[in-house]
């Protein structure tokens, strides 16, 4: 159950706001992440996901076209993504939505606006989660 290193992480940031994508990208870079891709909507995201296996995907909920929630549900129904951490990043702070997201399989949930320190805390825990999951899926493989 080796912890995965940040420098080995492949991250995808999906949000229709440029500045949110840029902020998350910058925070991840500051933490040592080397591979960060961006997508402005779910279609773009799916395109990128078909070419690359990301370890962590940041998803906004409300976007024009398909919602991030939709994408999350789809992915969780697919075993290929069992070891991928999905982090919902949304302005929605209602309990109802947070619980729904977690129920649909979100690994974590961060409410906008995102402070760098908040992301750092979440990322540490997500890395541990990914490590455990990677170990578990290796065993069942």
């Amino acid at each position: 159950m080796a912890d995965i290193k940040i420098s080995d992480l492949k991250a995808l940031v999906v949000d229709d706001h440029i500045i949110i994508r840029r902020d998350l990208e910058q925070f991840l870079k500051n933490m040592g992440c080397k591979h960060i891709d961006q997508a402005g909507n779910v279609n773009d995201a799916q395109g990128k996901m078909s070419k690359e296996h990301y370890n962590i995907i940041f998803l906004d909920w409300n976007m024009p076209g398909k919602s991030g929630f939709n994408l999350l549900q789809q992915c969780r129904a697919n075993k290929t993504y069992d070891d991928v951490a999905f982090v919902i990043v949304s302005a929605e702070s209602d309990d109802r939505y947070i619980i729904e997201a977690l129920k649909a399989g979100a690994t974590s949930y961060i409410v906008k606006p995102v402070a760098e320190s908040t992301l750092q805390e979440h990322l540490q825990k997500v890395l541990a989660w990914i490590g455990k999951r990677a170990g578990a899926t290796r065993q069942t493989a």
Partner: protein, 166 residues
């Protein structure tokens, strides 16, 4: 369930807290509330706007318009996103929409906690059209001590329910 007008002051409080928090966390700038004047006296072209709506069952309506001093957003873009190769104006509009999204989401959560069932749409650039409802203005100034740019929030509230029966 309260009438939408009765929660006007509380909604203003939520907006104030949310705008302050957003500018603090995202752009590390202080924001202070000011007395609402007459909007931007300089006229069109000096501000960047976004709008977003909350509604319930086609009967209750709240349209929010956010107007930001163009110079304020330009300065933020230059400082925070220097290497971004998108059009500067596009980025400013993006900021306007992102802030509107965050602030009005908070208002939605607050109102739904008070017994409403509001839904929110996706923020768009430009100001909202007048809907004939009750208006309320909130005015904020960024970096108050440095006389920074202004942020205007306009709320239009309409309660189209008829007088309570019985």
């Amino acid at each position: 369930m309260d009438s939408i007008v009765s929660v006007k002051t509380d909604v203003s409080d939520v907006v104030e807290r949310s705008v302050t928090n957003a500018f603090d966390v995202m752009f590390r700038r202080g924001v202070a509330k000011e007395a609402a004047g007459d909007g931007f006296a300089e006229g069109a072209g000096q501000e960047i706007s976004s709008c977003v709506s909350l509604w319930q069952e086609d009967r209750l309506n709240m349209d929010f318009s956010f107007s930001f001093d163009r110079d304020l957003l330009s300065a933020i873009v230059k400082e925070a996103y220097p290497q971004e190769n998108h059009d500067r104006t596009l980025l400013c509009e993006d900021i306007a929409c992102a802030v509107a999204n965050i602030v009005v989401s908070n208002v939605k959560t607050y109102l739904n906690g008070r017994g409403f069932e509001m839904k929110m749409n996706i923020p768009e650039k430009g100001a909202a059209a007048a809907n004939g409802g009750q208006m309320a203005y909130l005015c904020f100034r960024c970096d108050p001590r440095a006389q920074g740019g202004r942020i205007l929030v306009n709320m239009q509230m309409q309660d189209r329910r008829g007088p309570k029966a019985g």
